[in-house]
Each structure stands twice: as structure tokens, then as C-alpha cells.
Subunit: 335 residues, 2 copies
């Protein structure tokens, strides 16, 4: 690995752009690595590459997928993705891996998960490091998604492991959001992170096979009852619950049928395009906020004063309004 | 009114502080007016007054109240507040009025709403202008709440009219959050703004009287079913639905009993104090963010470039990441 790296020629913007546009998987992977890099020189290069790729992006359906632990997300994505490849689609799976921010790398290697799908020449499976921040998830995963689209992938599946916050970030970058749930009693619904059900365009109850099938039907009725009381995340679309089995393959095709119907309905009404535009502008606004906060909170004088001010607020020695005034004065003097 | 104003002597910090601490209602009202003022000289004076009052704040139970339109919030608050006054409490009602940001004043005058309660010497009713921004709601209403506490009010009721966003702001400044709902069929639950039910520590179904009583019991069962699937906003507390009638007075006392039980449970577990500390620090952090954004978005060069960048993003001429870099450079050059 080290030897290989040493012998790599530095690639030009043209190399990256042409490689991605020609659908070269190795070049796609290297471009994503470039995007994920935090090094300044890589960032500049990545921005140039991305700028050139931008006009080739957008031609896909973007699907976010989450689920409670043990719901069998990976198995289901493998079955679903393989089916789509057989149908002639090119499928990119980006798995957001919250652990990667700790280890610096990713514990969910391509080798260990979705092995079969990863070997499929029409699929591309890639763990997407979260970079330790929500902004990190958003930026890197979004840019990776755009690069995959430029490489001709027409179905993008973004999987999250279900930390609650990540779901909101993923919802903000996809067209359709799928929640994978488990069969079982009402209590299991509570295993779902707060607010996640409200993000769903559809809930699929996995493992609806064998003895579990009857319970899955009951769970579906319960989910439908709860969904009835929640506002849909997508204007003009009423989310419903379904059952499926990644093991037997039953109803896996229905996932795609629901997504296609969703695409048709929302493209017809204009909601599809409207959401995409709003998502881009939101992303831009978020990054501005992130940058403003980063600059402020990394300022040495701010960092020094902040703990004292917080303590003073908690001891009622200063009002939060006064504290803001004080720290802004310090920030203005020392930047 | 104009003549009176002309003859008013300018008050000193001592005048305000002593007036509030002595429980003088006129001085309390004038202090709140000072806090609501946007004029620079008033802000400085208000900050001094607030600083002096800070050590006398915190000795109350803070209750947020919202509900669907037509749920009879005002009538219920009047009945509830009057009962508390009879019990020996001093009750302050702050009504957040979203219309006030448009008219500059408030359309919900003390005279027209909660007349009876407003005349009660142990109650203080005050519309709280939202100031047009969420930050405005937060700052002014929070500071008004603190001043009322310093004036000896031990129950603070903060009413919102139910715009969705305001509820989140109010939830972030109260101990207990009460949702007033209506009797009726399942469809009526959907009239509730998205996400509001998730904020509730209790739901009281009002107008449970006469022929409506049976339907109210049904609605209660339905609300309880939905609450069962939602995560509680307060650690160690399970929100439930109840029925009541502001008209007959039935179960109005139960509202207070639920709040007292909540206070006992959360003080025992430490959740009460923990939330208050977190709320203060959150408020501080939010105000910092608000200020950073205000400075950025009010910068003339930023205002000039922003529409073009947004349009370029939507036409895929630039990536959002690049656009952020560009606008930050402009901001740095022109401030």
C-alpha cells in the first residue's frame, strides 16, 4: 500500500475530471479521497475538480436510508442495490460511518460489508467519514454524492447508522428518505431515535418472513397509525409503512416502486426540483454559519474568556445579553 | 398618555431596581418597556438594571403554554391564573404576540384579553412583542421573565399563539410545557403544528364539558396513544393527556397538580436544575450565533454579492463550497 502510494504520479485537475466522467472506478475513488482530505493543497485541487464536475451532476435519484440497530440495513441495501444493478442502474452506496471521526479511518471497510454489491461492476460502495462534525457529514458526503453523479451513477443510496443528528443532515441532501424498521411489539417503535419517523417518506419493516410475518403486519398497522398523526416531510406525499424481507427478497422491488411513484408525483408537482434548489441554498447558508462560528470559537481570546463568562452566567453574576456584548468586544479587539 | 410621558422624570438604575424589587407594578411595567426598547441608550440602562436584578431571579416555576387556534388558551389561562392567585401565588402572564412585529405595538392589549386576571392585584399580564425575529422572542421574553421573578412572581406563564417556531423558543426558556388541545375526531390532532406535541410535558384537552365531554375522553385516549410513541422532552417524565374545562372549571386544578408533580420529580432527579443551567448557556450561545450572522448578513459587500452567488449555485456554475470561500474573502476585505 505504501509502495503503491509512493509511485503514484500527482494527478492534474484534468486527470481527475476525465477519469470521473469516463466512469473509471479507480479515478472515482481517488477523487473522493481527494475531497475527503483536509490538507489545504488538496482542498484547492478538490474545489477545482468539483467546479468542473458540477454541470454533470444532478441526474440521479438520491435516497437516504436509516434504521434502528439490528434492522438489517446492510443486508437490505445489498439486496436492493443488487436488484437495481440487474435492472440496469448504476448504484452508488455512501455509508456514513460515525466511528471514522475517532479512528481517523473507517471501521466499516468495503471488504466486510455489502461484499456482493461491492464486487458488482455496476455498483460503487464507499464509507463516507463524518469528519467529526455535522458540517463535515454534510460537506463531504454531499460532494461525494455529486462526484458519483458525474461518474454516471443514477441511484445514490446514503446510509446512516442512526445517531439522530446524522439523519437530519442526510434528509437535507436527499430526495427520498427511507426508514428501515423492525417487526415486533409497540415498544420497539420507541427504539427509533426521536424525530426520525417524521423524516420518513416511507417505512419498510424488514425481516417480515417466517414466523415473524404476522408480527410484521401488526407493526405495519401501528406505524401507519403513528404516521397518520405526523406531518409529511414532503409536500403532497403521504408516507406509509410497508413490510419486506431482505432474506427472502419479498417486497424488495416494492421499495423501488414506492420511490418511482414518489419521483413521479413530486416531479409533476414541482416539489422535487423545488426541494433540490432549497437544499443547495440551505447547504450554502449552513456552511457560511459554520465558518462564522468556527472563526469565532477558534479565536484564542474568545477561547480564553468563554469558560469564565459561562460560569458567571450560571452564577447569575452577569446576564447572557451582557456576556454576549463583552465577548463580542473581545473578539473585535483580537482578530 | 402623551402628557404623562412628557412629565416623566428620567429614572435611574436605582429607581428601576428598587421599584422592581419592592414589587411595584408600575415600575415593573416601566422596566419591561425599557428592556423592550431598541434604542441604544435604553439598552445600556436595561443591561445595568438586569445585572442588578439577576441575583433575585430564578425563584419561580416557568410554564410555557400553547395550543391550536380556538382551543381557548386565554380563557383557560384566566381561569388557571385566577385560581393560583386565590391560592396565594403571584402570577405573571407573558403573551408572545407575533403580530406586534408588524404593527410596532401590540394588538393584544391587556384590556381586551384576560380582563379579570389583569385586574387581579396578584397577577401581572403583559403582551411580549416578538421583535420580528426568533432571537427577539428569546431575548426580550427571557429578560421580561427574569424581571418578573425579581418582582416576586412565583408562577410565570408564557403563552404563544402557535406558529411552530415560537413554541421551540418558548420550550427553551421554561421548565414545563403545556399544550392545550381541542376535543374532537382524529383529524383535529393534525391541526397541531408539526413537532409541537413532541415539546409537551402534558396535553390538556379543553372544552371537555356538556355534550363534548365524551368526545374529549376519546381525544384523550388518542393523544395518549400518540404520546406513547414520542420521546419525552423531559428526562424521567412521561407526558400524558388530560381533559379539562375552563368554562366549568373542571380539572383546572389538575393542571397545577401535574405541574407540581413534575417539579417534584425533576427537582429530585436534578433534571430541573440541569435544564435551567443548560437553557442559560444555550441562550448565550444562540445570541452569539445571532450576532455573528447579523454582522455578516448586514455587511454591504456581502449583501451585494449574495444573490449572484445563490443564482450561480442553482445554475451549477459554482459549488456551494467555493461560493462560501468567495464570500468569506469578500467579507474579510470589506469590514
Amino acid at each position: 500500500m505504501t509502495i503503491q502510494k509512493k509511485h503514484r504520479k500527482p494527478l492534474t485537475v484534468d486527470d481527475y475530471v476525465e477519469g470521473v466522467l469516463s466512469g473509471d472506478r479507480v479515478m472515482l475513488a481517488r477523487t473522493i479521497t481527494l475531497i475527503e482530505s483536509s490538507a489545504k493543497k488538496h482542498r484547492d485541487l478538490a474545489e477545482e475538480v468539483l467546479k468542473r464536475l458540477m454541470p454533470h451532476t444532478g441526474n440521479s435519484i438520491r435516497v437516504g436510508i436509516t434504521g434502528v440497530p439490528g434492522a438489517g440495513k446492510s443486508t437490505l441495501i445489498e439486496a436492493f442495490g443488487s436488484m437495481l444493478c440487474e435492472d440496469g442502474h448504476k448504484v452508488a452506496v455512501l455509508a456514513i460511518d460515525p466511528s471514522s471521526s475517532v479512528t481517523g479511518g473507517s471501521i466499516l471497510g468495503d471488504k466486510t460489508r455489502m461484499e456482493k454489491l461491492a464486487r458488482n461492476p455496476k455498483a460503487f460502495v464507499r464509507p463516507s467519514p463524518s469528519g467529526g462534525t455535522l458540517g463535515g457529514v454534510t460537506r463531504k458526503t454531499r460532494e461525494t454524492m455529486l462526484v458519483c453523479e458525474a461518474a454516471g451513477y443514477d441511484v445514490i443510496l446514503i446510509e446512516t447508522v442512526g445517531t439522530g443528528q446524522n439523519e437530519v443532515a442526510v434528509r437535507s441532501m436527499v430526495d427520498f428518505f427511507l426508514v428501515i424498521a423492525l417487526t415486533g411489539a409497540g415498544d420497539e417503535l420507541q427504539g427509533m431515535k426521536k424525530g426520525v419517523m417524521e423524516l420518513a417518506d416511507a417505512i419498510f419493516i424488514n425481516k417480515a418472513d417466517g414466523e415473524n410475518k404476522k408480527r410484521a403486519m401488526q407493526a405495519r398497522a401501528e406505524y401507519n397509525r403513528v404516521l397518520y398523526f405526523l406531518q409529511s416531510p414532503t409536500e403532497g406525499w403521504k408516507p406509509k409503512a410497508y413490510t419486506c424481507s431482505a432474506l427472502t427478497g419479498e417486497n424488495i422491488r416494492e421499495i423501488w416502486e414506492v420511490i418511482k411513484e414518489f419521483e413521479e408525483v413530486t416531479k409533476e408537482s414541482g416539489v422535487f426540483e423545488k426541494r433540490r434548489s432549497e437544499q443547495m441554498i440551505e447547504w450554502f447558508d449552513w456552511m457560511i454559519e459554520d465558518e462564522l462560528k468556527r472563526r469565532f470559537f477558534e479565536n484564542e481570546s474568545v477561547k480564553e474568556l468563554l469558560p469564565k463568562l459561562r460560569s458567571d452566567i450560571l452564577h447569575a453574576n452577569i446576564s447572557p445579553t451582557q456576556a454576549v456584548k463583552k465577548i463580542m468586544e473581545i473578539y473585535d479587539q483580537h482578530r
